[in-house]
């Protein structure tokens, strides 16, 4: 699948990405962006959900005083 064909609103399970794969992906995303997923469970059902949480955490990290 090409990146431009990816519909951000499409449920991940329709793309063949199961819950275990999401966990693994989030683990790698944490490393890539230097962020940490919050302890509370954030529902992740679509690619957009991943983008939203990453945006939020990156912004929080940037705004946090050292």
């Amino acid at each position: 699948m090409k990146l431009e064909d990816l519909d951000p609103g499409r449920p991940l399970d329709e793309l063949g990405i199961d819950s275990l794969s999401v966990l693994q992906a989030m683990f790698e995303i944490e490393d890539k962006f230097g962020i940490k997923m919050p302890d509370e469970r954030v529902p992740i059902r679509t690619v957009q959900d991943i983008a939203d949480i990453v945006d939020r955490l990156v912004a929080e990290k940037a705004g946090r005083p050292e």
């Binding site: 275990l20 966990l23 693994q24 683990f27 944490e30 940490k36």
Partner: protein, 414 residues
Amino acid sequence: MNPRRVVVTGMGVVSPVGNDCNAFFDNLLAGRSGIRRLSSSFAARLVSDIGGAVDYDPAARFPKTKLPLLDRFSQFALEAAAQAIRDSGIEFTEAVKGRTGVFVGTGMGGSRTVESAYEEIFLHGKDRLPPYVVVRAMNNAAAGNISIDYGLRGPSVTYSTACSSSAVSIGEACRAIRHGYADAAIAGGAESLLTFGTIRAWEALRTLAVTDAEDPASSCRPFSKDRTGLVLGEGAGMVVLESLEHASARGARAYAELLGYGALSDAEHLTRPGLEGQVATMRQALADAGVAPDEVDYINAHGTATLAGDAIETAAIKRVFGAGAAKIPVSSSKSMHGHLMGATGAVEFIASVMAIQRGAVPPTANLRVPDPDCDLDYVPHRGREGVVVRTVMSNSFAFGGSNAVLIARAIGQC
């Protein structure tokens, strides 16, 4: 109802002496050892810095998306199972999938994954672990992965009886087919324990061989008076077992009939082998097979190369086979592939079945100094070819006192 007969129709091996059955057996016959000094960075800190490592490239075998899910022991299990399934020619129709089980033995399963995960949090100060640790590490990961990959919906079970794990898994699969719980099974074992923590733990037991400085490959010397202990190895062995009807109906070639299984306990000591338990288990397997002692043409010994173990097994064989013991070739292929722990029973069962198929008996390598306590025909140094081998026995005697013995016999076309 008479129990059904069970035949071996496919075999697969991943081992320190070859990653397919023919290479594996050719190396055994030639007396070639797969034991080397370990190349890992931690080897310098070990007293016993040798092992039987498998030469193989995981990235070439599994897709990048799948590999993070698989501990090395599961990778080996999947590879050996794939070979055995291909070799058997079995076709997994929906009906066959529903009647095929997976029986896997492993001693410590995904302990490599556990060890590296603990390293991360205890040593490297990480406060989180990758999400796949549990599913990689669990002991039934290998069986689960085989069952899922081929859609096999019969029983998927894991046996963990240390050194006899995969002799037990093959024996239990045989019973399940005999008694109608499955028509076919993928059975065997897998292990991959060559990690710093695990080798250190074995060193503490003082049962590992001292490295032979001049020739590390000859460090494991079963039945030789100068033996110093076992050498850890890694790998997997898998067989396809089928009921005789099932195999005949599809015109399968069978390597052998799995004729007898014995499984009894020493109930004596956690590590010291028990003479009486070994005798009883061999006798149970012979009775189960309906085979008289003088019909056995080859014994693949447990033969780990510990001082006590080899002498006790020799005494047990002499008790069971009487005066005839002197005439039976008995060898320990561990002298070349090392002790594959949870995989060793399966790999040695395969060596025994190959002995039938090839008409050749693998040797005991490195048997340099005769020991009066070990006075059988151990087929020293090189294999014996051009011999008639019809009935074979494979011994597995485990820590914890869990003994298992398998007997197989030649069979023609089903």
